[in-house]
Symmetry: C2
Subunit: 196 residues, 2 copies
DNA sequence: CGCCGAGTTGAACTGAATCAAGAAACGTGG
DNA sequence: CCACGTTTCTTGATTCAGTTCAACTCGGCG
């Protein structure tokens, strides 16, 4: 049996039979994505849910004004996909790019359908993922509505302490919805406060 | 057979057997919610998906600073719920309040589980709803990140032309993430532009 | 060594918030 | 159905968080 991290991830989350997980591990693909290259680009239709074995991905889009918006980061043990493209079978508007050399485990979405009949837990697992995703999006909307740039940054480093070092500041600022200059100033302010 | 609007809504969306829909219609409750009263309040656990037969609901939350944030409006033919509370069976932080005298059709969430075995279309219907919800949330995040107050308002009146008249401006402004004063000024500007 | 992109810093600017005060709309009780 | 008080909306003056633009620093890499 292949020993991907996803194996333990799934076992922990689902309490599935080992042979079912192994079956999945055998059917799905491991992909290597070199730093700065792309897993998904606009126009493509996203067919997989990607589980990050190692490395770091970012998901971003470019708006009508040509501005880049980082919507998600996915370090090891995270899942990432474009639910919209995947489910509605439409071309995506998203980029998914590797910020570090990354190994992903690509779960073909069909797999969920196939397995559904075999194991009820597995289909409800996908529903769980959808609900967790909704939760995160909701939280982010509320943070954009109610917090200042500084508060959003503090929340970011609290939530993802290790990522702060691995993601360029321009991308973090874009995720937070502020300019790189503003983030730089926020960081400076915080450093000064901390020194006292 | 009861003639709720939801009947035609479901028929249009699902192509279900008439008797299945009727069964649902008989098993679920119609609730009347008087203007300004609440369907859901924080602390309660949300157990239903509400389909609005007639009237208008709003969903909002109050943040740590005591500020109110309108997250959703649901006029006739819309569905509304707190997915988080519903799925994880946790107390909600949301208010769902009637802005007009409203009639809702309350689908007990268990119903989806029960019906799942009987009709596969029905369970995939719920998944469809989840994906549509994710889509809306994603769009809203992007609009908060990339559009000005005026642009967001223009998008709002374009998307929900009739709602603009039925929802107090304070609530629209809160939905857009701006102050009531700013919205008033934005409207004034637009009226002047339009006059020319 | 010298270039180049990322990050920092400064100064001027601006969109939106805040505070305050007036006008209009609303519903409640007489 | 009107009168009154309360809330909502508007308008103005001022302030502020964050943007923009431009110049500078620093660290990595060919």
């Amino acid at each position: 049996m292949k020993h991907f991290k996803i194996t333990s991830f799934l076992t922990a989350n689902l309490d599935l039979d080992a042979d079912l997980i192994e079956k999945m591990a055998l059917n799905c693909n491991t992909l290597e994505v070199k730093k700065n290259s792309y897993l998904i680009e606009p126009g493509q239709t996203c067919k997989h849910i990607f589980f990050v074995e190692s490395g770091l991905l970012r998901q971003y889009t470019i708006d009508a004004k040509g501005k880049e918006h980082n919507l998600n980061f996915a370090p090891e043990n995270w899942l990432i996909t474009d639910r919209n493209s995947l489910f509605f079978n439409e071309p995506t508007h998203m980029f998914i790019q590797a910020l570090e050399d990354t190994t992903v485990f690509a779960l073909n979405d069909d797999f969920f359908d196939e397995i559904k009949s075999q194991d009820y837990k597995f289909s409800s697992f996908n529903t769980l993922l959808l609900h967790k995703h909704i939760n995160r999006l909701q939280q982010r909307i509320i943070s954009l509505l109610s917090w200042s740039a500084e508060e959003r940054y503090l929340d970011f480093i609290k939530t993802y302490p290790d990522l702060t070092m691995r993601i360029p500041q321009t991308m973090i600022s874009s995720y937070l919805g502020i300019t790189p200059e503003s983030l730089s100033r926020v960081r400076k302010e915080l450093a000064q406060k901390h020194k006292k």
